[in-house]
Symmetry: C2
Subunit: 518 residues, 2 copies
């Protein structure tokens, strides 16, 4: 067997990549650059979105990779300067080319301007690479996760000490985990023997506007996306308990296995919160597993003003709540809760002798998070939330919910007053959907109006002036905002309306010119 | 509709959580503390693992949450000091209670002492909350991901411009994604209609020592874990191509659908690399999808000395490679590659109008990573890898593979020379499995020897002296190390053997005393 001594150059390069002194120097530099960056961005001094077309951006990113070759001689005094200089340029490239969620004119997807202080806590987990799967590998990471699982679960209304929960990498995975548990409970032996069985194929009943992650789960879990039944909605796009009752009755009458009902708090398109207490009653009547995707709205439980929106949430069998949405921590930190703690080991049932040491004392292995999550190696995803909470207290989360939800209602009021805007619903939270319809398009074909709104949005976001998103309501394009930067104020929303008008006017003028030129 | 103006206190609290000046101050303080921490840890000046029993740790973490209530008055000069003081104490708590992977005596799981410089780049993504799903939401994050997908894929040997790939949150998810694609390709319409179908139930053929994530995938995907067939291994625990050929012939003869063969590069227990070129031939002969879990070993492609271990990898249909293992970046950054780029959209097939804007120009939507990944919101998981690579060049990754793989062989040589240690294999990489068998236990029952080794390990890790892991070989406990801190040297391994002897001696003495006292 031949072994090789590492060359001096190799050893020096490794030493540099792990040098405490260098890390300190670079971290201080990063601190300065982040401070400057957030000063610029929170004051709206640049673009919200720094738009570059994909191929150009990829080529730029790729070019940097091939330029990476710092002279690896840490004994040379130039070396550290050289690394520092290149580090500075790379950091600035990342900052200059991003989407500036911390600009108050970012009013886009359900991804928040997260507290950068939370990110500093997150960075500790990253720098020390604290991970889980088994408790002994990341004892403090595991303990921190358990502490916020307990605390958030109790805020949601789950009874102290009588529920279970976990953190996973995002809402889609969280929904998948909850529905996998439901599948395994509903279809006995499906984990071991597969989902195929005699009789009618099992179904999942979902809110008709449920996030695509829910429908995808049916595809992933082997049930089939066609086995997803969309429960009818009321006129505010909330799941209708009476019609749900009818639907479940019909399904039970035909002997169709019902894996779960998946309700929303709130649903993505317009932020509609399902009437959970009634849905709980219907599900209990039919003995069906209730899963609630409260990825966005779960945090309303922190607010005295908005808690009523999630009344009944704690009576669901599985609950998803994303801290990286309305708790304003960086992605990803998604909770799954089980009302019945016995269900926590239903999703996965496996042994891995090198991981799950049979000699581990029983009480310790109950803290091995890998038994409950898809992830084996899992980041210390709760450090940001735990740090922010430990610093500012739970009231900060209530404040941020109140501020952004309030502004959602305020924006709807503003839209109602403007004759050239149509607000398409009465917002229950910080998601608002509307259309800009200037006089000349008031009588136009709805499809054309939808297309016009999409064009405005694309031009607006690429200009860097605002970042908002779009959706389809009854098949017609519409504008959609999520007020998920707590620094956004009414003044920014007034400016948004002006920007939409101006962009719309440019498009109409160009269109008229084009028509004249024909 | 009633709206409320945020109170002054609420506004101040939010302002503090987003204050650029405060972030700067805290980030500088973090920089100092990280430098000191890494100085202490890399010099082995404290414990490797800071062991505390779970309930005590959870109670401690929980107590901090209820203490979080900084006086939210940024106008008061005390305020910032108060926040800074509490931040310092929280940071130090996290650092003091972790598992110190950067201590060279950490020789544990397949989770590296990652480069803290990579973590600084990662922290930018976290601070600015750059995410993906769609390109426009995180254009630079998407571009950086694409650039490293291209670069790592090419290193592995995939032909430039002719493959596809993605990054996801961990090896388990990456394996699930690859096998989901295989399932959808093998079982037509299973995404839409479910996996149930007439005829014999479909199977997945896996390396008998495959990671539990592979077997779990069969459970998640609705096939059933009992439909996992373990392919026979040779005497070095590598998949045996001749026996695989026989197995596939038998399955084909009975008309059993074969979703995939899942091979390993390397398998977890002893780090065995499958003979991929032969396995590729067998799979092609039978027209079966080949999935290779190269989570640990894929990075061997960077090394001139060890590239031979992954010869044939690029001929697999789906490939998993974790940058958060042998590329030494913080968790999580796992690659999935598809040899045939057409397969990239096979795993998930869904539309979400508010996300996937039909008016997006075609070439842009091809950069919407959410179409290829389970995650909708996805972290900018490639920043760490991209930054490290752009700073030091690809050679750093070769250096780290060489250094740690070399030391694996060297450790085996050391063990072979010691009469009281049994090395259980000839290591192919940095994973080494062995037992400590002092003279007095040489003729003992193997189960007793296995149990003795487990006791030694538990005592050793809880003492903080070393962190190593354990596994079962043929049902008997054994010690297992992964040399995955590039600062670990031969001297540390010599110390490890002494520590094992001393710990073993204590246990034996205690046992003798207990026996005498009986």
């Amino acid at each position: 067997m031949t072994t090789h001594a590492p060359t001096d150059v190799a050893r020096d390069r490794i030493a540099a990549a792990f040098s405490p002194e260098l890390i300190g120097r670079l971290a201080h530099q990063l601190a300065d650059r982040l401070e400057t960056h957030f000063q610029t961005v929170t004051q709206s001094a640049g673009n919200v979105l720094n738009w570059n077309a994909p191929p150009a951006n990829v080529a730029h990113a790729r070019a940097h990779l091939s330029q990476g070759q710092v002279d690896p001689n840490p004994l040379c005094s130039d070396f550290t300067d050289q690394v520092e200089q290149r580090f500075a340029s790379l950091v600035q490239t990342i900052l200059d080319r991003g989407n500036n969620l911390h600009d108050p004119r970012y009013i886009g997807h359900q991804v928040p301007a997260s507290s950068p202080i939370a990110a500093l806590f997150d960075a500790i987990g990253s720098a020390t690479n604290q991970v889980m799967a088994i408790y002994e590998m990341g004892p403090w990471a595991s303990a921190v996760e358990r502490s916020v699982v307990e605390a958030v679960g109790e805020e949601i209304g789950l009874p102290k000490g009588e529920f279970a929960g976990l953190i996973t990498h995002g809402g889609s995975l969280a929904n998948l985990t909850g529905l996998l548990t439901a599948r395994n409970v509903c279809l006995a032996q499906s984990w071991e023997s597969g989902v195929a069985r005699p009789g009618r194929p099992p179904v999942i009943v979902v809110h008709a506007d449920a996030h695509y992650g829910i429908t995808r789960s049916a595809g992933i879990l082997g049930l089939g996306t066609q086995q997803v039944i969309r429960a009818p909605l009321d006129d505010r796009r909330r799941m209708d308990p009476r019609q749900l009752d009818q639907l479940l009755t019909e399904l039970r009458n035909t002997g169709t296995p019902i894996v779960a009902v998946a309700a929303c708090a709130c649903a993505t398109p317009i932020g509609a919160f399902d009437p959970l207490p009634d849905i709980v009653d219907v599900c209990r009547k039919h003995d069906v597993w209730l899963h609630v995707d409260a990825a966005h709205g779960g945090a309303a439980a922190f607010s005295d003003r908005y808690r009523h929106l999630v009344a009944g949430l704690a009576d669901a069998d599985s609950i998803v709540c994303d801290a990286h949405k309305m708790m304003f921590v960086p992605a990803l930190c998604a909770f799954v809760f089980y009302r019945n703690p016995e269900h926590r080991f239903e999703a996965f049932r496996q042994d891995a002798p090198y991981l799950f040491d049979p000699s581990t004392p029983g009480e310790t292995s109950d803290f091995d998070s890998g038994l409950m999550t898809i992830e084996c190696t899992k980041r210390a995803a709760a450090y940001g939330l735990w740090g922010l909470w430990s610093l500012f207290g739970r009231q900060l989360f209530a404040d941020m919910v109140d501020t952004t939800f309030d502004l959602g209602s305020r924006f709807a009021e503003m839209l109602h007053k403007e004759p050239d805007f149509d607000c398409l619903h009465e917002p229950q939270c910080n998601i608002v959907v509307f259309r800009y319809i200037p006089d000349e398009l008031r009588d136009a074909d709805p499809t054309k109006i939808g297309e016009f709104n999409r064009q405005i949005r694309r031009r607006l976001i690429e200009s860097g002036e605002f970042y908002i998103v779009q959706t389809n309501i009854n098949g017609i394009g519409a504008l959609r905002v999520t007020i998920i930067n707590p620094l956004t104020t009414e003044a920014h929303l007034i400016d948004l309306l002006d920007a939409l008008r101006n962009t719309g006017a440019s498009i109409l003028t160009e269109h008229q010119r084009a028509t004249l030129a024909d």
